[in-house]
């Protein structure tokens, strides 16, 4: 279960600040966000500055997640 933090618009769309979601990689996580909170939320998440364990992610497809990964979605 990755630990997720939402900021900005995504926080409003998801209705929460923090989350725990099971996902093996960022693509799966974005899919889960769409399932849980809708298409708009996935769109906002994709357009966010995404950090995994504090590092900026420039390629969603190549990013694997572990059980204790900390993922943050910030407005750009």
């Amino acid at each position: 279960m990755a630990n997720i933090k939402y900021f900005g618009k995504l926080r409003t769309l998801c209705g929460k600040n923090e989350d725990r979601i099971a996902a093996n990689n960022l693509t799966e996580l974005l899919r889960a966000i769409q399932k849980l909170y809708g298409k708009e939320a996935k769109k906002a998440a994709k357009a966010a500055l995404i950090t995994v364990d504090g590092d900026k992610i420039l390629s969603i497809r190549k990013t694997a997640l572990s059980d204790d990964s900390k993922v943050s979605f910030y407005p750009v």
Binding site: F7, K46, A47, D55, L58, P75, V76
Partner: protein, 637 residues
């Protein structure tokens, strides 16, 4: 024959030694070339300050001036400038401020004032509706910047110093309202001249050549700023500290005296954290729609909150994860009148000196103990504070540690770790006023903060640095806040996010077009003979205010001319290409030991940079370049 409606700026020269003032005429030629603000200020300083003058002697000259846009009501244009010989570097100093002083100086009938000499006792200058007087300020001496401003009418424009300026702290600032002309020691120069305050008031309206068109254009410009994801949303909501999570995520947040670029507690001090915990409301400078200012509670009252640079340097750089303490330190720096960037850099250096057993100032990384007392001691020039008030470079000369003394030319670096933003590193090294991100071209914006241009490659960085340095100079000369430069980056692109394929393509393109960027400067005015709202909105505004036929190309050339006159001043004062350098920590020690490319490869970038600038291999502007820019100075270096 001159332009029929060209209105020349009005300047006064005030001799503090004799207590007299006179008008100082600005010729049409000078105005057309240098416009105002830091450009005209630097040129006047070149002409009026004696070569190799001691910055804290009576002979140094202090110019406080406005720009054509100041006070016009255009978006983000309350700015004014201070030019003087830099206390920390011995080169050029320009320091910009968003307080109301500039607006009121213009309303009082002056576009700029030139101070020379030294008052015989603590004094303040009063400028009211064209009348200038020098008054006794002995009763104000010793007051902090807040107290001294309370002694004057609330609606008057004020520029004051605190105890740090009086005690010649080399990074003392000058303060207007709660806005600060922070860098380079402007407060110390005022203190050395025994000037506690300059106050201005008047009823004169600023000159606008074509008011109707100007108002229409300004409305469009405000809309552009409000629609932009950064100037319209992120900055109003989170303040400039919203940059922090970007720099941290790119390993470009100075941490532990720039030893690292990533702070493990960064989430506790981001702009988002500040908005969640301490923010009471946002605010902003006069006429600014961005409203990036934070309001927070300190000592039971609402005051200006910390900006990104302060959070970085008084937070991560000294391993302080306490946002309330950062707000408190920021407030103390403001009321004592000192630059929070240089203060943070100096404290971090002192902490590392202690860690390495080179000197003990009673300060430790990650410990709050003694910090507030030390800042008080610095401002009042007592105990260990006396030495710490000299800044990093002087401390390194006395105690060693030159390889981790983080400054450029003597000015402490801003809050961007350049080993993971190498274009920013080149900018710091070549910035005329020293380790300044803004005068350095602020490539961190495109390398880490907004875009994600390859931050490690030296390729294209010389070309991009020159472009951004010239653009930022021009925006500042016009009188705009430099945050408006962010809106030059297309909003729709930023909205896609850094991981989007289009964003990644644009990042590559910016490096790919380096050959074109590098050759632009020879043809600039001819290349862009028009103005563009969505690319560089400032030039059309400047045209409508001044009545001069300014185009984007000419506008960028104004910036280039400004950068070159500053360089010439530095060369005359004895700075050389050897001073275009950074500490060994940044140029020789990789930030990540497993990645040898995480250094600033200055040796690879500097020769190219000089070439793009039209300077010789020693960093001296070639005669051809000076002719092209219409700079009539031959300094025979």
């Amino acid at each position: 024959m001159g332009h029929p409606k060209l209105r020349l700026p009005k300047y006064a020269i005030i001799d503090l030694t004799s207590g007299t003032a006179a008008d100082y005429p600005i010729s049409e030629e000078l105005y057309k070339k240098y416009i105002g603000g830091k450009s005209l200020g630097s040129r006047l300083l070149f002409d009026l300050a004696p070569p190799r003058v001691d910055p804290l002697s009576a002979d140094n000259v202090l110019i406080v001036n406005t720009s054509p846009m100041t006070g016009t009501g255009a978006a983000s244009t309350s700015r004014f400038n201070l030019s003087f010989k830099n206390v920390l570097t011995g080169g050029i100093a320009t320091s910009n401020c968003g307080g109301t002083f500039g607006i009121m100086l213009k309303a009082a009938g002056y576009d700029g004032i030139i101070l020379k000499g030294k008052a015989e006792r603590p004094s303040y200058i009063e400028i009211v509706d064209g009348a200038i007087s020098l008054k006794n300020a002995e009763h104000l001496w010793g007051m902090n910047t807040e107290e001294v401003q309370e002694q004057f009418e609330p609606h008057w424009g004020k520029l004051v110093i605190g105890p740090a300026g009086e005690n010649l702290v080399r990074y003392a600032s000058a303060v207007s309202g709660e806005r600060v002309a922070g860098r380079c020691g402007a407060g110390a120069v005022m203190g050395s001249k025994k000037i506690k305050a300059i106050i201005a008031f008047g009823t004169k309206k600023p000159y606008i050549y074509d008011k109707e068109k100007f108002d229409q254009y300004n409305k469009k410009y405000i809309r552009l700023l409000r629609d932009h994801p950064v100037t319209g949303e992120a900055l109003p909501k989170y303040g400039s500290a919203y940059f922090l999570k970007n720099t941290n995520a790119s390993h470009s947040l100075p941490t532990k005296n720039f030893k690292m670029g990533k702070y493990e507690d960064a989430e506790m001090i981001t702009g988002e954290a500040l908005a969640d915990t301490s923010l009471t409301r946002n605010s902003g400078c006069v006429s600014c729609p961005i409203r990036c200012e934070r309001r927070v509670m300190v000592y039971g009252k609402e005051v200006k909150g910390p900006e990104y640079e302060t959070v970085g340097l008084l937070g991560a750089n000294i391993l302080n994860n306490d946002l309330d303490l950062i707000s408190e330190l920021n407030y103390l720096a403001d009321i004592y009148g000192m630059d929070s960037i240089s203060l943070g850099g100096t404290l971090a250096f002192a902490m590392e000196l202690k860690e390495k057993n080179l000197a003990d100032f009673g300060l430790n990384f990650g410990s709050k103990e003694g910090i507030i007392e030390t800042i008080d001691a610095i401002a009042h020039g007592v105990g260990t504070g006396k030495e710490l008030g000299q800044g990093t470079k002087v401390l390194a000369e006395k105690y060693g540690g030159d390889d981790f003394a983080i400054h450029a030319k003597g000015l402490e670096l801003a809050s961007y770790e350049p080993r993971t933003s190498v274009g920013m590193g080149l900018g710091y090294a070549t910035s005329n006023r020293g380790g300044c991100h803004l005068n350095g071209g602020y490539l961190a914006l495109v390398e880490t903060v907004m875009l994600s241009v390859d931050a490690q490659t030296p390729k294209g960085k010389a070309e991009l640095t020159v472009l951004f340095q010239n653009m930022i100079e021009a925006i500042s000369v016009a009188g705009y806040c430099l945050f408006t430069a962010i809106a030059v980056l297309p909003g729709p692109l930023l909205k896609l996010g850094p991981a989007h394929p289009v964003s990644r393509f644009v990042n590559k393109i910016l490096i790919g077009v380096r050959f074109i960027l590098g050759s632009l400067w020879k043809f600039m005015p001819k290349l862009l003979p028009f103005n563009m709202l969505y690319l560089l909105p400032h030039s059309e505004s400047l045209k409508l205010v001044t009545g001069m036929p300014i185009t984007s190309g000419k506008f960028l050339q104004i910036g280039e001319r400004c950068f070159n006159i500053e360089r010439l001043f530095n060369l005359r004062e004895g700075l050389t290409a050897e001073d275009d350098d950074l500490s060994a920590r940044l140029t020789k020690t990789p930030q990540d030991l497993d990645r040898p490319d995480t250094i600033v490869p200055l040796d690879k970038m500097l020769p190219k940079y000089y070439k793009v600038r039209g300077w010789d291999e020693n960093g001296v502007p070639k005669k051809k370049k000076l002719r092209q820019l219409g700079i009539d100075i031959d300094i025979n270096i």
